[in-house]
Structures are given as C-alpha cells and as structure tokens.
C-alpha cells in the first residue's frame, strides 16, 4: 500500500477539520492553527490548502447562510471525508514509526 501523500500544511488542516467538526470554516480553522503554532496565518493560504484538499477528495465544502456580520456573505464550511481520514491515519502511522525511539526527542 502506498504511503501518505500529504504535506505538512495539508495534514495540519485535516487535523483541524477533525477537531472542529461542523464548525470548520476559514475563521475558526485559521484561529485554531494560530493558537497551536503561535504564528500569524494568512486566511488566503488556508483557503489555498483547503481548495487543494477538496480537489483531491480529502475534504468537502458547503455554503452556509449569509450574515450582516460578514457583509452579507455566506460562510464556507469544510468537512473531512472518509478518504481524508484514511490519509491522516496513514500519515500518523508513518510519523509514529519515524518518531519512535529517537534519542534527540527524549
């Protein structure tokens, strides 16, 4: 079976989608990444990664309702697919194997 084909950003976003569940859209995803990595995030780069994941079938998107708080624009919610979960699982297995028993990591 072929190994995972996810980049670091792809994997991070998929994990965030799993954490956020139904509340995963641009703002919440970016905020979760910022809180975890303690680095500022460009929303456009989050969307670029999400679009790539949707194209590859690892996530799906759907539009919510427009609100005045968003200038009359709808939220775009994202959800991880079964294929995405399998890719994350495969990535976890690979990383756990590679990280195991490394003296530098204690």
């Amino acid at each position: 079976m072929a190994g995972p084909s996810l980049g670091t950003n792809d994997l991070m976003i998929l994990l965030v989608l799993m954490r956020l569940g139904d509340d995963a859209y641009g703002v919440t995803i970016a905020r979760e990444i910022e809180e975890t990595t303690r680095r500022p995030v460009a929303l456009a780069s989050v969307y670029a990664t999400l679009d790539r994941l949707v194209e590859r079938g690892f996530a799906v998107s759907e539009l919510g309702e427009p609100t005045a708080e968003r200038g009359g624009r709808a939220k775009k919610f994202f959800r991880i697919t079964g294929k995405g979960v399998r890719e994350v699982r495969a990535a976890k297995q690979s990383f756990v194997k590679l990280w195991k028993d490394l003296p530098q990591l204690g």
Partner: protein
C-alpha cells in the same frame, strides 16, 4: 451592535486584480474578523497576502498564460529599449540609424530637447513601463494582474543574475554597492509602474 465597515477599496482591489477566482468566502471571513476588532492594517495585509497567494494559484493552474505574459512583456521591453536608443540618437545626435544608414535630421530636432533630455527620457521610461504593464494585462484580462506579477519576478531574477556576475567581477567593490542601490531603486520603481499600468487595464468585477 454597530457594525464596523472594513476598507471597501481593499476587497474591490482583490476582485479586480485576481478576477478568475471566487473571493466571497474569504472576504466574508475578513469582514467577520474585522468586526471582532482586527485593525485596518491587518485587513489590508490579509488582502495583499490573498492577491499574492491567489496569483500563484492562477499561475500554477495556467502556466502557459503566465509564460505568454512574460514573453509579451519581454518583447514590449525590447521594443521600448530600441525606441529609447533611437530617441536618444535623435535628441542628441540629430538623427537615427535605419538599417545600416545614418539619417540626419534638421538641427531643430535636437536643439530644444537636449537641455531637458533627462526629463524627456525619464518620461518615456515611465510611460513605456506603464504601457508594458497595461499591455500584459490587456492581453490576459481573465487573469488580472497575475501576468504582470510573474513578469516582474522574471525581470527581477534576470537583473539579479546580471548583478551577481558584476559583483563577482568587481569583487563586491564600493562602486558595485552604489550600482546595486541604484539598481534596486530602479527595479522598485519599475515594479510600481508595471503594476500601475496593469491596474489601469483591469476592469471591475461587474463589467468584466
């Protein structure tokens, strides 16, 4: 609760410069964060990041269009340089080269202009770069400013390669550093003019 209005020009700029993509969800997110207290500077930086990220996405999706934009810019640049050279001959030498022949012009072709030659050549350089930017976007309108941005990166890379050669030959002498400062200054001005020309050629999302 009174809603704060984010800078409208920023959103319009994004739609105008990268027209091939859907921006509503992103703009909605930025609007929402702005309501939560983010600053105008934050909003504008996010828009700038979006222009760059989405332009890169456009290039990856349409590499041939990007290559065509660069070729258009390079050909227009070559024409501009030969025009420069001809005009300089006319304004200083009172004539121009046609094939292998020198065509002399009456004295009044170069007498009044020689005094303000630098101003005239600067004006031509400015107008020429604006026209190049305008031409690239006009011929690739569906991609907005992407073509101009790619062209700017390519010519900067070519000039940087040339400067590196000079640096090696001169062993990074003080004279070279002065040349480098001038080159960087010129490159920044060229970028501004090319982008300004490209911006003039874009149309609003409503009329596109």
């Amino acid at each position: 609760m009174r809603l704060r209005q984010p800078p409208r020009f920023a959103g319009r700029l994004l739609k105008r410069l990268v027209p091939a993509q859907e921006h509503d969800a992103l703009l909605g997110d930025l609007h929402e964060e702005y309501q939560r207290g983010r600053s105008v500077a934050w909003y504008c930086l996010q828009i700038l990041a979006a222009i760059v990220v989405r332009s890169l996405k456009d290039v990856r999706a349409n590499p041939l269009a990007a290559a065509r934009a660069v070729i258009t810019g390079l050909l227009a640049q070559m024409f501009l340089l030969s025009l420069f050279s001809s005009l300089e001959n006319i304004l200083t030498g009172g004539g121009y080269i046609w094939g292998s022949r020198w065509i002399g012009l009456p004295w009044y072709w170069h007498w009044p202009y020689a005094r303000s030659l630098y101003t005239v050549m600067q004006g031509i350089w400015i107008a020429g770069n604006v026209i190049i930017g305008w031409l690239i976007v006009r011929l690739h309108r569906a991609h907005g400013l992407t073509g101009v941005l790619v062209y700017c990166c390519v010519i900067s890379a070519l000039r940087a390669a040339g400067l590196l050669q000079i640096a090696r030959i001169t062993h990074w002498s003080p004279d070279f550093l002065i040349l480098l400062i001038g080159a960087v200054n010129g490159q920044i001005r060229e970028w501004i003019l090319l982008i300004a020309g490209g911006y003039l050629a874009t149309r609003t999302a409503k009329t596109a």
